[in-house]
């Protein structure tokens, strides 16, 4: 009886493993196919060999002006890195103040900031376009980066506030007795204890900003400044029938966040859970 239920559990888990890994198999296997194989095999058949032709075409297509995700990858790095750094540091400061220097109405301020996390961004998209145009930041990576910083504040503040509430307030009090002020305590006591918090927030922000599409597709119009998600979507237009090129593009788009997931998975999950308020 007990043994049979164990068998059933593993059978079900393996079944779901197939469901989750089948698309992974498809994307990897098909990215190694040649043009000839695309025409003669279904997406399920393994490739004859490892051919990086499709990867090269996805990065820089042989036809001029037909897109390619190469520039998109570079743009995404340029856009993502400063946005992750600034929104994390900013969130850390907010979270520190809201949890360790509580004042009347601190919870109200927190709720006020948090609301921005729960709106559909469509509700701010049109004025954002106008605003960025006025500042001549529309269609620039700086504008995209700034957007991601601004709308990253709620989540980074939330995660850091939860994180700092687990740091004993006595540490802060001891430092203030020694004469440290708000900034002194932050620099000497809080920051050195914040590394795990920064890892969680950093991975969360990196993943969300890298993977984002709505801002990317609406705040840029020129392919030379589009992030990689938009470039990948355009690839489907210029290589409509060539699934090998599209799959290669999909892999390369996914590699940075996949690496973060593989090597820092524990922190990734923590960020995932923290994103749901309770942490």
């Amino acid at each position: 009886m007990l043994r049979w239920s164990r068998v059933l559990i593993y059978a079900l888990l393996l079944l779901f493993t197939v469901f989750y890994l089948l698309p992974v198999y498809v994307v990897v296997a098909d990215s190694f196919k040649t043009l000839r194989e695309v025409n003669t095999t279904s997406i399920w058949q393994p490739p004859h060999g490892i051919d990086f032709g499709a990867w090269a075409s996805a990065l820089t297509p042989p036809l001029v002006g037909s897109g390619g995700i190469g520039p998109g990858l570079v743009n995404s790095v340029i856009m993502t890195v400063p946005a992750v750094v600034v929104s994390s540091v900013w969130g850390s400061l907010n979270g520190y103040l809201l949890s360790k220097w509580r004042f009347r109405g601190a919870d109200l301020v927190f709720a006020f900031l948090l609301f921005g996390m729960f709106i559909p961004y469509q509700a701010i998209l049109i004025p954002l376009v106008q605003f960025l145009e006025k500042l001549h930041l529309y269609g620039t990576l700086a504008g995209l980066s700034l957007t991601h910083i601004l709308y990253g504040i709620p989540i980074t503040t939330l995660i850091f506030r939860n994180y700092y509430s687990s740091i004993p307030t006595e540490l802060v009090e001891a430092a203030t007795v020694d004469g440290a002020g708000i900034i002194g305590v932050y620099a000497r006591v809080i920051l050195p204890l914040s590394i795990p918090g920064f890892v969680v927030v950093g991975i969360w922000q990196f993943t969300s900003i890298w993977n984002e599409f709505l801002f990317g597709v609406t705040l840029t119009s020129d392919p030379s400044v589009q992030p990689v998600t938009v470039a990948l979507q355009n690839l489907a237009g210029s290589f409509a029938a060539l699934y090998n090129v599209q799959m290669a593009g999909a892999i390369m788009t996914a590699i940075p966040t996949l690496l973060a997931f593989i090597f820092l998975g524990r922190y990734f999950i923590r960020g995932l859970l923290a994103g749901s308020l309770k942490g």
């Binding site: 089948l22 103040l97 002020g181 599409f213 997931f261």
Partner: protein
């Protein structure tokens, strides 16, 4: 006292940014939705300098078949199906993984892996899997699934069921998949579930691990079977986590854009069109900014109905703790 002032000064940039880029921008969008700004002419001042037309854009929107009933119908079907299927799979997986499994870490990582991907990547892959000519049909036809599918669809007692699924556009037995308006929405639901059910599993597993072992032990001593323990002891304890999960999935599905945009572009016809896609087309292709702002406000209101009570209860329960 001095520190109080400094605290507020240091928090001010975030508060100001939030005030402008969230609250004032929402007000701006609402104002735009009340104007006749439905042309390519760029704005001169800070606010849309077009005549106010009251709620005319709202009347137009709800008189447009593409939005009402079509987009609202799709959003409702998608939201309910996506939440039910994701929660069912996530719950099953979390309970399975809670049985002291060998290789738990491996399974957990496999189920969570799609969470690291962009919806654009997911959409690209699943568009090919659900392509009727190259995709899943090719894999399953040799296994006899086509015959089974035709047989199932021809069973007359099941006809009402297929009619219902056809009507809901989630009848993925239809071989046309993303090209058939009776199944296209179902294809998008499967892709979305593939991406998000691991998140549900992670949340619920964390919830399960948070339940004190003594509670289960006590029930065991009282002679409860493992199944009874799950139904009567464990699941009620998971309720708060389940509420979080449903709200988060609901928030995601009410504004879903990238996945659908990449997989089907809202088609065939408007079979998988959503307010977000209609908004995108209205604003950035048709230059109907007033109408687009109206769609945005409707989306915001619907999301707020789901999210604000949740945020409120979370912050309150936190205050009590």
């Amino acid at each position: 006292m001095r520190s109080r002032v400094l605290t507020i000064v240091l928090l001010a940039p975030a508060v100001l940014a939030s005030l402008v880029f969230v609250y004032l921008f929402i007000a701006w969008t609402f104002y735009a939705s009340l104007t006749s700004w439905n042309s390519v002419r760029p704005l001169n001042g800070i606010l849309p300098d077009f005549p106010l037309v009251g709620f005319a854009n709202y009347q137009t929107l709800f008189a447009t078949a593409r939005f009402w009933p079509n987009d609202v119908f799709n959003t409702a079907v998608f939201t309910v199906t996506f939440i039910v299927v994701s929660v069912a799979i996530g719950l099953l997986l979390s309970i399975l993984l809670d049985q002291r499994i060998r290789g738990e870490g491996f399974f957990r990582n496999v189920f969570l892996l799609p969470m690291a991907l962009s919806f654009v990547v997911t959409g690209t892959i699943w568009a090919w899997i659900f392509n009727p000519n190259t995709g899943i049909n090719q894999l399953l036809d040799p296994l006899g699934i086509n015959a089974l599918r035709e047989w199932l669809l021809s069973l007359s007692p099941l006809t009402p069921l297929w009619d219902l699924l056809d009507f809901l556009r989630i009848d993925i037995l239809r071989p046309g998949l993303t090209t058939d308006s009776r199944s296209a929405l179902g294809a998008v639901v499967v892709a979305a579930t593939w991406q998000m059910s691991g998140f549900v599993m992670a949340m619920l597993l964390a919830g399960l691990r948070g339940i004190p072992e003594e509670l289960r032990e006590a029930a065991r001593v009282d002679g409860a079977s493992e199944r009874q323990i799950y139904v009567h002891v464990v699941l009620p304890q998971l309720r708060p986590v389940l509420v979080s999960v449903v709200v988060i999935l609901g928030y995601i599905s009410l504004k879903i854009f990238d996945l659908v945009f990449v997989m089907t572009r809202g088609g065939p016809g408007t079979a998988t069109d959503f307010p977000s896609i209609f908004l995108f087309v209205s604003a950035f292709q048709s230059q109907l900014w007033g109408l687009a702002a109206t769609i945005a406000i409707v989306m915001l209101v619907v999301s707020a109905i789901v999210v604000i009570p949740y945020m409120w209860s979370q912050l309150r329960s936190e205050g009590r703790a």
